[in-house]
Every structure is written in structure tokens, then in C-alpha cells.
Amino acid sequence: MITAEIPVTPAAPPPPVLARRAWVEHVMGTAVSIHVRAVEPTRPDLEAAVARAYAHLRRVDEVLSTWRADSHLLRLQHGETDEAHAWVSDVAELSLEAESRTDGLFRAWRSRPGGRTVFDPTGLVKGWAVAGAGAHLDVVPEIAWSIGAGGDVAVGVGPGPSAAAPSWRIGIADPRQPGRVADVVTLRRGAVATSGAAERGGHVVDPRTGTPVRRSGSVTVVGPDLTWADIWATAAWVDQGTARRLMAARDPQYRLIAL
């Protein structure tokens, strides 16, 4: 992506003073925070876009939740319906792509003891959903936005003079000291995704062995798109060395921070 920077001349007017506004809603089993910086953060178009971003996340939850028995995904798996939202096939396709791009370090299909194979795209749905929610904010002129969704972060800038757009400081939680920040990433556009054992112990399964990954620490991936940052972070949690090598070869614009 090419960002055109407006050269600063001595006669340039001072940058506008940006106010900040935050929203928090509980959706997809976690808290989703949206922060916006704008000259006037009470603008109705801005509020409407934030509402659309949350509505997008709620809709994703209705369609793809693995916790809600009435989600399209689970009704489909339980044979209760033949119809499903197109997102189910979108996410299935994305899961296949993720599996091949990570050489199987990421896998959304797993075998259950009874020999049954279940499709569980939880590992990428959150990142993909938040990236989609961010698209609703990306079209709002002259704002900077950031979304934090249970540990995954996406930030961006709406159309307008990019020189005035502020960047966001994203702290990477210290996996060994709850409430502490171990590192800080500064971004204007992009995403930060972290996988680790700090909050929900052992919830990532190594697809090669079928056993949960039990390790301390965390891995963080920083890159342009939260969908792939999330996928690579999950892959790196399973096998850091392999994921690092694959990422460098296949997605060089993403980088890995291991704590």
C-alpha cells in the first residue's frame, strides 16, 4: 500500500486538535473496544459507522459462533438446516487457504474421538470479523480508528489528509505479569494479533498431534490485515520456528514478536 504524505511546509496550518471517544460492547464472548480520534467525535456519520461495526460483529456471532446452538454454523453441523449465510462458506474457504499457507500449522477441521470431523473456525473468525468491522470505519472521512477485540487489535484511518492522521500505541501484554505491557507497537494502519496461554489456558490445539499447546509466553504478529495476523499468530503459537520461516517466505509484510 502506498501512502502519500503531504510535505510539511513552514506555512502549513497547525494540525487539527483531535478529540477521542471510546465505545465498549460485549459481543462474540468478549469485550470489543472501539476508539476514534476526530476533530468532532460526536459526528452522526461517525456514530452510525461505529454502530454498523458492532452490528457486523453481532451478525458474525449469529452466523459463526461455536458457542451459540442457534448459530448458522452449529445448526448446519447438527443437520438442523441446509441453508446458511454465505459467510459460512467464505470462512471455510479462508480456513482452507490458511491451512495451506501455514503448512497445516493452522487447521479448522479436527477429528473428534468418535471419528467425526468437526469444522471449528474459531481460530480465525475473530480476526476476520474485526477486520470486517474495521472496514465500516475505514470509509468515514477524517478519523483515525482502532478496535480492540479480546486481545486482537486493528487500526486504520478514514479518507482525508493522511499527514494529520495520528498513530496508535498498541501495548503487547506481558504474558508473565498480568496487567503489564512488555512491548509497544506504533501503527497508523494495520493489525496486531497475539496468541498465548495467558488468558485462556491451552485453547490452541496443535493440529499435527491433536493436543493442546502447553507453553508459557505469547507470540504476537504485526501486519497489514488482522485476518492474517491472527492466523499467523495462531500458527506461531503452535510452532514458532516453522511459522517464522513460512511467514518470512510467504507473507513478508508480517512480523513476529515472541515473548
Binding site: R21, A22, A173, A197
Partner: protein
Amino acid sequence: MRRITTWLLSTVSALVLLFSYHTSTSSTTSGVVALGDATTGGAASTQDPTADAATESDSTDTSEPTPTGSSSSGSSSSGSGTSGDPTDGTFTGDAVMTRFGAVQVEITVHGGEITESAVTQVPWSDRKDQQINSYAVPILNQEAVQAQSAGIDMVSGATYTSEGYIQSLQSAIDQANL
């Protein structure tokens, strides 16, 4: 505040100078600490800000319990130094409305550092809230302080649940901006 800091600093550095003589012979670690602080304290006592005051009050705390013959004179003089500190005391903040309800915090300052924080008012809307708050809010205070000092906008970490959010650093940052 500036005068208080200068005063605290000069008292502390004088104390440290007093200590460095005895402790350097008996304990190597505290000797090094005291010596280092004595030099920085002496140089900075006229203009240096609170950062040094904090580290130096730390060092008096560590050197105080050193089991040497001089400990009796040391503890008595450091006692008079800290008890007379005008910044010591217990302070109660204003009740702050959060989206979870009103929260009020009480802090205890000793030697220029927050030694204790207690929540005097927390939202008790239901039993679950109560359970969460009983341990979450005190943690939140420290996190809020840390988040402000680091200037963090968002936190990336391993996935937390809705319940986990309440005691997360992200929640402290959000509350500062809501």
C-alpha cells in the same frame, strides 16, 4: 510539590550518605546501592524531579533493615524523615461513574509512593458483579496507573472473555476514554 521533593531529596540523600559509611563495610549489595544513590542524590538534590526521590526512598527502605550495629541509629533517623513527610497520608478520590457503576478508590502514600490502594465504593448490581469486583477493581487501579504512564491506546494479548475484560488493562484504558 517541587519544594517538597527537594526537601525530601535532601533529607534522603543526607540519610543515604550517613548509611553508606556503615553499610558498605557490612553488606556488599546495600553498600553498592547506597553509594550509587549518594552520588546521584548529591548531584541532583537541587533540581532533579520525583523519579529520583522515588528510587531513593526505595533505597532507604532496603538499607533500613540491614542487620548492622548502626541499624538503631539508622532506623530512628529514617523514621523521623518519613513520618514528617508532608505527602504521606491516606487520600480518597472522587467517586467516578463507570459503565459498571460508581467506583471510588482510597490510596495510602508513604515516602512518596503508593503503598496501598483500596476500593471504598464499587458497583454491586448483581452477584456476578460482586464476585468480579471483589478482586478485579484493586488490580484495575494499578493497571490504570501503569496504562496512563505508558500512554497505551490498545492492548494486544491472549484472548480474554467478557468476564476477563473487566480486570484487563484494556478496560482501564477504555474507562479513561469513555
